[in-house]
Amino acid sequence: MVGIDRRLLQNVDWLLLAATTMVLAISAVTLSSLSVGRAGGGGLAFRQLAWVGVGSFALLVIASIDYRRLVRMAPLFYVIGLAGLVSVFALGRTVSGARRWILLGPISVQPSELFKVVFVLMIAWWLSSRWAQSLGRVTVSLVLPIIAVPFVLIVKQPDLGTALLLFPVTVALLVGAGVRFRLLGALALTGLAALPLAWLAMKDYQRERIMVYLDPFRDPLGSAYNVIQAKIAIGSGQLLGKGIAGATQSRLAFLPERHTDFIFAVFAEMWGFVGCLVLLVCYVVLLLRGFDIAAAAREPVGRLVALGATALLASQVLINVGMVTGLLPVVGVPLPLMSYGGSSMLVSLTALGLLLSVRMRQFQ
């Protein structure tokens, strides 16, 4: 069951792995450059590499398992994932006002991160299940509770970024499953129409909370300052960048969250527009391989799994870069394979494992 035969190895997607390796290398260089000439910061890159090791092992394990087995077990994973989300409220560690982490021995894990992959499998399971083969209004509507339960749990942590991420992934899967665009349009309209109702149903303090989430300028000490500093960092990199030593925004700590959510700004300051193009091209190659795997999948389950994994990565890259460059409001979404953080790395590599799993079995 766990084991890779020769035929499977012939179908490993080397270009996908090459793009992944490139991004990981860029991440390691960026993280270590943040600590050049500074005491006590040098460990970050190594800890990140340790997580890459763990993640790579997960990647191999997932790739070696037939994704159809994983999809069949998806409801079980889903229940376990929900339990993980609930456990945060009981066992969670509070960091700057949010309970997102639970301690597993020496490491802290973010259940909401890990849930992303589970979610992809669960939606794929539902849309490919025999109850859902008519793909009508009812089938599609039943996706809503699958989203709603984890969404509420994750929002309560609070971690709006991760919660909102469930939507583009779901939409991509619905599109991939062949739901007619008219139905999708109707769903979107219904959702828009429901927003004011939900707004009216909310209590005042909840509204205020949502407003703070949606409008970072309500909190002048927080997000607005971050966005300004990120823009300065990115812009001052100009065409070719300031190099590692000259990246004052990053190295003098004007940039907030520079190891994690804002790492793209660090990279942009150091390597400029040209560097950003190189990095974005790596992501585009990686994602196009993902889409190709989905398109070439032998049957719908594989297509949905590959498309979901690819959509998950694509949404995170675009939301993260969009928010760092000031196109989107700031929500906490890490840059896959770049941002420092174990859970995020594990999830990204697991998603890639799913892609490989689909790829290797496309001719079976």
């Binding site: 209004r137 499953a177 002048p220 004052t248 925004q249 003098l252 004007f254 527009f273 694509a314």
Partner: protein
């Protein structure tokens, strides 16, 4: 479930449609990437220069380093004022909490820790841009205890720093306050002229203001790279401050201190001058103000209390107050009469204590009169009756002519500013002829009535009597010099006028002034055995002003010594002190004694 929305066929059979669906998602993703790349092009290539400036602005702080202010020395090289490092509480607006509530909390804590009014901190921050990195000085002269309180909580008080600046220190709280003047942060009014930057220390009165240009020096600066917390990372560039130039004054610190002590809390003025060159050796005015507090920390109430004090402590009485000269003016009348031939030493009258002119009766200060008096005795005893008649003989025109020649009615030209010119009466002019009112001339002859003089004018006049008629512009500053740039300014002294009197007249005047002190005259209280002191008392009645009701007359004593070859002139005025001979003369004696006899222990300037 077979409505219009139903999928057309089961998925497994629809491979080609599924592929198209995947491509649709991929197309959306690629489009989004193009938008992101467009934004990066905008930020990095189109607007990159602007953001580069912004990032430099972020990391580079320019910290001014105050130049130490130049030192003022006395004529022997003893400092009159010095600098010591002082601690200043400053706020950096850009580094204060951005959130209004949290900023208030920070300022509130500082206010509570140091006992500073909260409004003062708030005002200081409100006056400048919240984006400024230039420290706003809030409170100078922190104690070491205060500094410790702030430094201990440094991390909890973002934007609050303690700077070290050179600050003025004086030998004593009120030492030469009017002469030196105080130094304070440039006022809003001064900032408007563009000569100063906010927080610059500027001389506001006295020599500090007169010589501010020289004393100020040039501030240096440091360009420092800082991190986001405002912690310095490295020094990018440094400009050393250029200290202010040294000023060598004409003041003798020992004499200045003696003069201030001799006044002993009484309101009045003292000028000590060298009649040979016009050098001012001491200039004291009382009541005085606490110059150290004016320069350092003073709260608004204490400041207002001084400024609104009905005794006007801010007034430099040596230059800015005008008084009737009293009997000191008799010297002018005698000089005019002798030189014009309308008076001779042999003129004699009987003084019965009263003099009648028309309907008026003028009295002598002495009940019953002095009996038979000649000019010499009239000077020595300061007999009013003699001078009433002498004044009428000499005439108002001659008296004012000589008084004007001796400098009365004209400013002395000392550079301290706001100097009053005094006043000499003018005759009424009718059909081209000068007409003097008899009563006016009588009053003027004994230095009463409309005549007004400043103590500095009396000193210049007395110096002219002592040196044979030379009017010197009083000199306060000998030179301004700096170590690197040599002498920047020097004042060789300036003669502003001559009084031509025949030698016998000078001799008579000196002789009689010597007798005033040494032969049982009204100035006997100024007598010092072994030193030939010559002088004249004066008691200025305050008839014209209703202030007389508040007390007694102003007491004058103007002296020079040694009588034969005068080296110093001492002028004393005590407001509402009483009789010149009883109040002012003993003060002059103390000062003369200090100048000529007292050996003073080594002078240390104290912090």
């Amino acid at each position: 479930m077979s409505t219009g929305f139903i999928g057309r066929r089961p998925l497994p059979d629809h491979h080609e449609a599924g592929r198209h669906r995947v491509f649709a998602v991929a197309a959306v993703v690629l489009a989004a990437f193009l938008i992101v790349i467009g934004q990066l092009w905008y930020l990095q290539v189109l607007e990159g220069g602007r953001f580069l400036d912004a990032s430099d602005k972020n990391r580079i702080r320019i910290r001014p380093v105050a130049a130490p202010r130049g030192i003022l020395y006395d004529r022997h090289g003893v400092p009159l004022v010095d600098n010591r490092p002082a601690f200043t509480l400053s706020l950096i607006p850009r580094e204060l909490e951005r959130d209004a509530e949290r900023r208030s909390a920070t300022l509130g804590r500082v206010a509570a820790l140091l006992g500073v009014p909260y409004a003062e901190l708030e005002d200081a921050v409100a006056r400048v841009s919240a984006d400024s990195f230039v420290p706003v000085r809030v409170r100078r002269g922190l104690t070491l205890e205060d500094v410790a309180k702030i430094e201990e909580r440094k991390l909890e008080l973002p934007g609050v720093i303690v700077e070290v600046e050179p600050q003025r220190t004086y030998p004593s709280s009120r030492f030469a306050a009017h002469l030196l003047g105080y130094v304070r942060e440039a006022s809003d009014e001064q900032l408007k002229h563009g000569k100063y930057r906010r927080g610059d220390m500027v001389g506001q009165t006295g020599l500090e203001r007169l010589l501010d240009e020289y004393l100020r020096g040039r501030d240096g600066g440091e360009r420092i790279e800082v991190d986001a917390m405002g912690r310095p990372v490295r020094l990018v560039q440094q400009t050393e401050p250029r200290p202010g130039a040294e000023v060598v004054t004409t003041i003798d610190r020992r004499v200045q201190e003696a003069a201030e002590q001799a006044l002993d809390g009484r309101a009045g003025a003292i000028v000590v001058m060298d009649p040979r060159n016009g050098d001012v050796l001491a200039m004291a005015s009382a009541p005085s103000f606490p110059i150290d507090r004016f320069t350092g920390t003073i709260d608004r109430d204490a400041w207002l209390a001084v400024v609104r004090d009905p005794d006007y402590p801010m007034l430099n009485r040596t230059l800015q107050s005008q008084y009737a000269p009293g009997s000191v003016f008799k010297i002018v009348v005698a000089a005019a009469g002798l030189q014009e031939g309308t008076l001779t030493p042999l003129d004699r009258i009987h003084c019965g204590g009263e003099f009648h002119l028309g309907a008026w009766t003028f009295k002598d200060w002495k009940e019953g009169g002095h009996g038979g008096v000649d000019l010499h005795r009239a000077m020595v005893q300061s007999c009013n009756i003699f001078f009433y008649q002498a004044g009428l003989k000499v005439g108002g025109a001659a008296i004012t002519k000589y008084a004007s020649a001796f400098g009365f009615g004209h400013v002395t030209g000392v550079e301290l500013g706001n100097e009053k010119s005094g006043f000499l009466p003018h005759p009424k002019v009718k059909r081209g002829r000068q007409l003097w009112q008899g009563g006016e001339v009588v009053n003027m002859s004994i230095g009463q009535g409309a005549v007004l003089v400043t103590p500095m004018q009396v000193a210049r006049f007395m110096a002219a009597v002592a040196n044979g008629g030379v009017l010197w512009k009083p000199r306060l500053v000998q030179r301004v010099q700096s170590a690197e740039r040599g002498t920047l300014y020097s004042d060789p002294g300036q003669v502003t006028g001559h009084v031509e009197l025949s030698p016998v007249v000078w001799a008579f005047l000196k002789q009689s002034l010597w007798s005033v002190v040494n032969e049982g005259g009204t100035g006997a209280a100024a007598r010092i055995p072994g030193l030939d002191v010559a002088g004249k008392t004066g008691t200025a009645q305050m008839i014209a002003n209703s202030k007389a009701s508040r007390g007694e007359d102003h007491a004058w004593f103007a002296a020079f010594a040694p009588a034969k070859d005068p080296e110093v002139v001492v002028v004393i005025l005590v407001e509402r002190g009483g009789k010149g001979g009883q109040v002012a003369a003993p003060i002059a004696r103390k000062i003369l004694n200090a100048i000529f006899f007292e050996k003073v222990a080594a002078i240390e300037i104290s912090g």
